[in-house]
Amino acid sequence: MARTWTVICVAVLTAANSGVVSADPVVDGDRLSKVLNQENAELEVSVKPSLLVDDTAYLRRASVDLIGRIPNHQEIQEYLAWSAAERRSKLIDRLMDDPRFVDRWTTFLADMLRLRSNSPGGAAALAFVHKAVEDDMPYDEMARRFISANGKAGAVPEVAYVLGDNADPMALAGVTSQVFMGIRISCAQCHDHPFDRWTREDFYGFAAYFGKTRRYENQFTNTVYTQETTTTSVLWPPEGDAEGSERKPVLPKFLIELIDSKARPDFIARLESTRKSEQDLIEASLAASSKDASIDDLLLGAADKALDRAKGKKKTSFDVASEARRARESIDLEADMRSQSELRRDLAELVASPRNRYFAWNFVNRVWADLVGRGIVEPVDDFSDSNGPSHPKTLDFLADEFVASGFKFKSLVKMIVTSEPYQRGQAVGVEEAEREELRAAFLAAPARRMLGEVLYDSILTAGHLFEYKHPQGANMKTVSERIRVAVPREGEVITPQSLAAAGNDTAMQGRMKGAMAARGAGYNLESGIEIDFDNILQQAKEKAAEAVVVEKMEVKSAEQLEAERMQMDGGDRRRFRYVYKTVERTYDDNPVFGSAFRMASPAAPQHFVRIFGQTDRTQVGVPRDHSPSMRQALMMLNGKMTHEASRVGPFEPMHKLLVGKNVDLTEAVRTAYLEILTREPADEEVSLARSIVADGDTTLEGMADLRWVLLNSNEFRYLP
């Protein structure tokens, strides 16, 4: 079944317009709750569940989980203005529509797939996943693409998956089984798995699916790509065991049995019907698009775009009809297949098959664990005979519903966040043993700390740092800095031209960097530059267009190459040496930060989000480390970001409550609690907080102290 995503995407947009098959999240959440409660009853769980969290706690929890930051003041007011009966479901709809939902869950998938901005094609792959989440691309489709893609890094975004492990069959075998099916077989690379069923032959058979894929690197065009060869590199017996015997190519063999193709479980029947109606919609939209677009259609498109802009979407929606037309023109199934690996295409079909229970189990369990704080199978990537699910029926239900929905990520998330287990409070004031029992039965929430990116963005939200909060020129600062300046060696005259000709613009860069660094004045471990995913995808398309040219490039002469290298190296650097000078610089310290979810990822090793648990995404099966460290404490206590977030800017609503004619410290304290902790302060908290504010040299300083404490508090970084 070769299906092309562009087409599905059209169907989804059309479906949204025509009001077809829209699952009711609340009902689905309730169904999930019932299944779990029923299963707990069967498991004879008798502990008393924790209560569901209150409305504001739910708002904070869901905002953090779905859009990766705490709610702002306006969002809290809006939420509280909704009627209590529909608050939670309306909230989920709003959050899932937020462009930040896409950013937040791109990070989830990037962690899972170990996508790295700085690996070959990694940036394009991240942009691809971003688009896939935005369009709610079916998860099976996404998985198939990653497993089977071939081509040039950056031009074929999905190839980053195979290139991320250097197209090494052994590595990819271990990674693919663990990431997509939750099966750990990498131990069996070197020895039969001692306590699981996997043998070395199983491993080699699985690795053989990757055996014909090769990684190539063209050093002159600086491109990396994969291609298929005719011979496999996976041979049996393993190297070192051969002892003179001939090593023979291993035939690919899948690890596990799929559900028999004659059987037709309910969820498969439902999937087929879901896919059929999607197909019908495509046909219909193609048929409609063949007619000339009427004025009404055009107006409708314009209205959609305006609506999107109003919602704050960064990009405009595309015209459904014309996109469908273009999609039909671009569907060249044969070409599509050629660009994939045949072996890996087979593998992709097996891995991502609705009949492969591990595929759906693994993914729903990962999403569940991320949202609920504990997997039904734990660790999430270790499904084995000796490590079964704690709640097999609940896991089956989630998997069945996920498959039946057409592997729709959003509907899975919706179902979970509207269910009881997601909404449970923590088990406070009970014995350790009972707490563990409650958590194991998903009747109490574990304490969860925000992800590093969420913490970063939440500080920015609470501290109004996404936008300027001080007037221009109100924070002028002078710093002295050491900068590097190029000076000529004897007999040389330095000119801008000679610097540029020598490729030696380091001195200039030094200056510019100095100016930029001055803004952070030594705090660059907290800064980040937002990435434009759409632009990356556009570049990928352009690269794909030139792919043919590159592969047919003629071999260059040694002289040509030498000339190119000279140019790249910047020629003769010996003419310059550098001295350091101290200069004074005045600048306006009026900081604005970008979202951590939009930075290149993984971030630099000492960056805030790395210190708070973002991994380098190189190792498989290494979850984020949420344990505290001294470096974390130092960054929070003394960092630029917490400091600036604590200071109250004149453009903030709170400012007028602290200075001027209408000072109202109680209201200011309330605002601080709502903005930072998403809750009202208790009476005694108000009086304590008021005394802190009053204790400052000015009310503004006192409030900065209070906000600094709240931002640094455990209550801020642990979810309610």
Partner: protein, 418 residues
């Protein structure tokens, strides 16, 4: 339960029972093999990491009169019969403290893989990342005093991987510059900052009843550690402002010179492992020009460091090592450069029980192959373990529950210890 972890169940179960004793010896002592059967000769390490692959021929292993000699002449040193390159005139007077190994037999010729092996002792594999040697040291040896046990200067140290975040290096980007994270933010006085900390402790105390994570206690510890570090007089070890100008003149006021001065202060304050990073050794072109410049920077700094550590007595406890991922080709290419060459290369060690003034092993007359006493890469790590009293065969668990030895085999180069 994952299976792999129980693969070595017998041995580990015994290790776990180390509190038990047999005839008065603890089981751990009886099992302890290498590294624990003698008193350590070193307390701390300064590792100079010269990234890019430093030429051995133009530094520690000159080949006078051979076609591979290049532009530099060898010079005699304070160690009898030991000659080094002319680019190290100051250092030549400290060579009685220094031992050279001239017969490292490397196997990796690409930067990434070679760096990985030299820094971890392991060859790079696809399914596990090994910790850098600094992490291994601080996993086995606690910090003395307030400062972090492991500090990396002017560059990133390798990852701590499965040894955990607490074994990763404390990063100093620009040696001698103040780390803004070690003081209250600009404009926040000590009084105000301390008051904030008190209030924070109060708020966290109130909150701890409302949530259920054991990590809250660890958060408290991390804040306390941070505050202790911020308030520690030992922080001066990161700073150079108090030094007289003459020190800057001796070491050279370069990032490397300042790195050496900070490294010296750090080991004197009890830091276990300091890594000083320096790049620019990948001299495919103009090798001799580049190395002359390196010499100008490295020579005064290294010589002053060894001299100062020696005079204060600290050198007895501190092992100073200089490593690079490989050497460079004896043949000089048409660009006046030398290319990657792992076949044989050298390293530099001083202090911490190392007998100075000697050379271990040699390369052949043109510097192509080890001539005698070839030293394998993991032998270097085993040597450091021996000096520090660390058992290189001790096993730790990876996330996939696979037991890994601290060092990938290797045996200590015992001649170094005299």
């Amino acid at each position: 339960m994952n299976g792999c972890q129980d693969y070595h169940v017998t041995r580990r179960a015994m290790m776990g029972a180390s509190a038990a004793t047999i005839m008065g010896f603890s089981i751990r002592d009886l099992l302890a093999a290498k590294g624990r059967d003698h008193a350590p000769t070193a307390e701390n390490v300064i590792l100079f990491w010269n990234g890019g692959g430093m030429t051995h021929l133009d530094t520690w292993d000159p080949k006078p009169g051979r076609p591979t000699q290049g532009e530099f002449e060898p010079i005699s040193t304070s160690a009898d019969g030991v000659q080094i390159s002319e680019i190290f005139p100051e250092l030549s007077r400290q060579m009685h403290n220094v031992a050279l190994i001239r017969s490292i037999a490397g196997t990796q010729g690409a930067h990434g893989r070679a760096t990985y092996q030299l820094q971890t002792s392991y060859n790079q594999t696809s399914n596990v990342i090994h910790p850098g040697f600094g992490s291994v040291v601080v996993h086995e040896k606690d910090a003395i005093g307030d400062l972090p046990a492991y500090v990396s200067i002017s560059g990133q140290a390798p990852r701590s991987s499965y040894l955990g975040q607490s074994c990763s290096a404390y990063f100093v980007g620009s040696p001698g510059d103040k780390d803004p994270y070690l003081a209250f933010p600009e404009g926040i006085s000590q009084t105000r900052g301390n008051k904030r900390l008190e209030t924070l402790a109060k708020f966290n105390g109130r909150f701890s009843g409302k949530t259920t994570s054991r990590k809250l206690e660890a958060t408290k510890t991390s804040v306390n550690d941070a505050v202790r570090l911020m308030r520690s007089p030992a922080l001066k070890a990161f700073e150079l402002d108090h030094l007289p100008l003459s020190q800057f003149e001796r070491y050279g006021d370069t990032p490397f010179g300042r790195g050496c001065m900070v490294a010296k202060q750090l080991v004197e304050t009890g830091v276990r492992f300091v890594q000083v990073n320096r790049g620019g050794f990948d001299t495919h072109r103009d090798n001799f020009e580049a190395m002359r410049n390196h010499g100008e920077v490295m020579d005064p700094a290294l010589a002053s460091l060894i001299q100062d550590l020696d005079e204060s007595g600290q050198l007895k406890k501190t092992l100073v090592v200089m490593l690079s991922e490989f050497g460079r080709t004896p043949k000089i290419n048409k660009d006046g450069g030398r290319d990657h060459y792992p076949g044989v290369f050298s390293c530099f060690m001083a202090g911490g029980g190392i007998q100075g003034g000697q050379v271990v092993g040699s390369s052949d007359e043109d510097g192509y192959k080890p001539k005698d006493r070839p030293v394998q890469v993991p032998d270097l790590h085993a040597t450091l373990c021996h000096a520090l009293g660390i058992d290189p065969e001790k096993e730790v668990m990876t996330p996939l529950q696979r037991p890994m030895k601290l060092v990938d085999g290797g045996s200590p180069v015992m001649e170094l210890f005299g």
